[in-house]
């Protein structure tokens, strides 16, 4: 029985390894035709041109921009909500808020994308007077909603795991509840909270359908959140279906996939690292 379980665990690891190797193999081929500098530093993504222009920069920038925009509002709000849920909310309120968050987590990404395209986009158009509401801000708002449940639930776990003895001791010494939260709970839970935020980032950066529908998909590099952007994920989704097998375009898309995979893996490793440090601390 134990051997069967071991075999299953090993097989899932092997599957992941095979996927990574497959991506690498197909992606590396890009450099047969395109110099690495052109790919990693290129500012134009126009693979159907002759000769094809496969610059990663606008796509990587798009992914970074919308993820940053999402985290900048959902992380503080998420951690704040987690603190409220873990330390302050009554059992009844917690009973309402937690299921609400679960529902938010369960909404399919395509629904967010649709909402962004049909409601939030035109709304942003009106408010900011921009020509189109399909922009980085639109995507960032929606991605924030998608990262929020992850950040809240993991941060709340981290805060709940703070030993009550520490909190009791602090209160016994005369500290107020807020002082206890600020000087005892938060520092002790910090590793877990940081790990929660990083996982939220990982979620946002890998999101495809929402950005495909709401961000406009123009492969440009712009500092403004009110301009359309294109992410790495949306590019793969939009173009993989047509790219002729074996062409530069096809391999370049795999190369983007490799970059995406490496970025996600890096975030997961980072989150793990902070989790370990946090757990050791307790």
């Amino acid at each position: 029985m134990e051997r069967a379980i071991k075999a299953m665990a090993l097989s899932s690891f092997i599957v992941v390894l095979l996927i990574v190797l497959f991506l690498l193999k197909e992606g590396i081929f890009t450099f047969k035709w395109v110099k690495p500098k052109e790919f990693f530093l290129g500012l134009t993504w126009f693979p159907t041109q002759e000769p094809p222009k496969v610059g990663l920069v606008p796509l990587l920038w798009g992914s970074i921009l919308v993820t940053f925009g999402a985290i900048v509002w959902s992380a503080p709000l998420g951690v704040g909500l987690a603190i409220y849920l873990a330390e302050i909310a009554s059992a009844r309120l917690r009973g309402i808020l937690k299921p609400a968050l679960e529902i938010l987590a369960g909404i399919p990404s395509v629904v967010f994308g649709f909402f962004g395209m049909v409601f939030l986009g035109p709304f942003l158009q009106e408010v900011f007077g921009i020509p189109t509401g399909l922009c980085a801000l639109n995507a960032s708002i929606l991605l924030g909603f998608m990262a929020l449940p992850t950040i809240v639930s993991l941060s709340e776990d981290a805060l709940s795991a703070v030993p009550w003895t520490l909190k009791e001791a602090s209160l016994a010494l005369g500290a107020t509840r807020w002082q206890t939260i600020k000087y005892v709970s938060l520092p002790v839970a910090s590793g877990g909270i940081l790990s929660a935020v990083i996982l939220g980032v990982g979620r946002a950066i890998g999101e495809t359908m929402t950005v495909l529908m709401a961000a406009g998909n123009a492969p440009i590099v712009s500092l403004s959140f009110l301009e359309p952007v294109r992410t790495m994920t949306a590019t793969i989704a939009l173009e993989m279906a047509e790219a002729p097998k074996g062409s530069v375009h096809y391999h370049a898309l795999f190369a983007i996939g490799v970059v995406l995979l490496l970025v996600s893996m890096a975030f997961n490793v980072l989150a793990d690292f902070f989790q370990e440090r946090w757990r050791k601390g307790i």
């Binding site: 126009f46 158009q125 020509p131 123009a218 939009l238 279906a241 047509e242 002729p244």
Partner: protein, 271 residues
């Protein structure tokens, strides 16, 4: 004891449903979202004539359909463009002879937001808009509003056709918004005042305005007469000569009833 009963009944259900699926003759069409409405209507009518047949119609774009045909994941590829040289090479490599069947003619309607006063554009105006040369509608005696260029993704035959007929070799402006389907383009154009996009004629809805190109408005008559410049043939592609269900279906679409259906959906019959 109970576990065994559950296991056996589960296995039985699986086996029976698979057998049932195999017993039904299945036909899978895949590809262009422009040809999709035709295939869907035809499939419904076809089912009335052949109740034992199950016809599945999937979208994804012309490129996806042809790739599926060559991979064997569909029986008929729907395409709004001619098959490319590179795709024919792949077919050759697999020993597949691709058979082409033009089934309808479609117009590419250029649509703008209903509040846009522009009623007509020349082909060179269109090219200047789509290459990013013209960035504000006032240059074309429109209103003072930034142009929002909407295009289809490159898997789409609609994009290929527009690229071929309007852009020529000129590159599309990188600021163009890409949408993955005809409907997506309509939604974006309907919600942005300065937007312009192109869709198959059947997708024009009251919430967008279709403009004339080179002085000719897009309609079934103007496409038939050849006066409307943005037109293209729609195709079904098969592996080799179609047989069985595929043959019956294609014959049906090319028959008088089928072509009448095509007109009802909003396209131009090829016969």
């Amino acid at each position: 004891m109970k576990k065994w009963i559950l296991f056996i009944s589960g296995a039985l259900v699986l086996v029976l449903s698979t057998l049932q699926l195999l017993a039904q003759e299945a036909l899978v069409l895949q590809g262009s979202t422009t040809v999709l409405p035709i295939a869907q209507r035809a499939a419904e009518a076809f089912k009335k004539l052949h109740p034992e047949a199950s016809v599945t119609v999937r979208g994804g774009g012309s490129g996806v359909g042809i790739a599926g045909l060559l991979d064997g994941t569909c029986d008929i590829a729907m395409s709004s463009r001619k098959i490319k040289e590179s795709e024919l090479k792949i077919a050759q490599g697999k020993g597949i002879t691709v058979k082409e069947f033009p089934i309808a003619i479609d117009a590419l309607a250029v649509i703008v937001h209903p509040s846009n006063p522009v009623k007509n554009l020349t082909l060179s105006d269109l090219k200047r808009i789509y290459t990013g040369e013209v960035t504000n509608w006032k240059v074309l005696q429109g209103f003072d509003s930034k142009v929002v260029v909407v295009s289809r993704d490159s898997a789409s035959g609609t994009f290929e056709c527009f690229n071929h007929l309007v852009l020529g070799e000129a590159p599309l402006t990188p600021r163009a918004l890409y949408q993955a389907s005809n409907k997506g383009v309509v939604t974006v154009v309907a919600t942005a005042k300065g937007a312009i996009g192109y869709v198959g004629l059947a997708y024009v809805e009251p919430r967008v305005k279709a403009i004339s190109v080179e002085g000719v408005a897009p309609s079934i008559e103007t496409v038939r007469s050849g006066r409307y410049p943005l037109k293209r043939e729609l195709f079904f592609y098969t592996r080799g000569e179609p047989q069985g269900l595929a043959k019956s279906f294609i014959d049906f679409v090319l028959s008088k009833d089928g072509q009448r259906l095509i007109q009802q959906v909003g396209y131009v019959p090829v016969k």
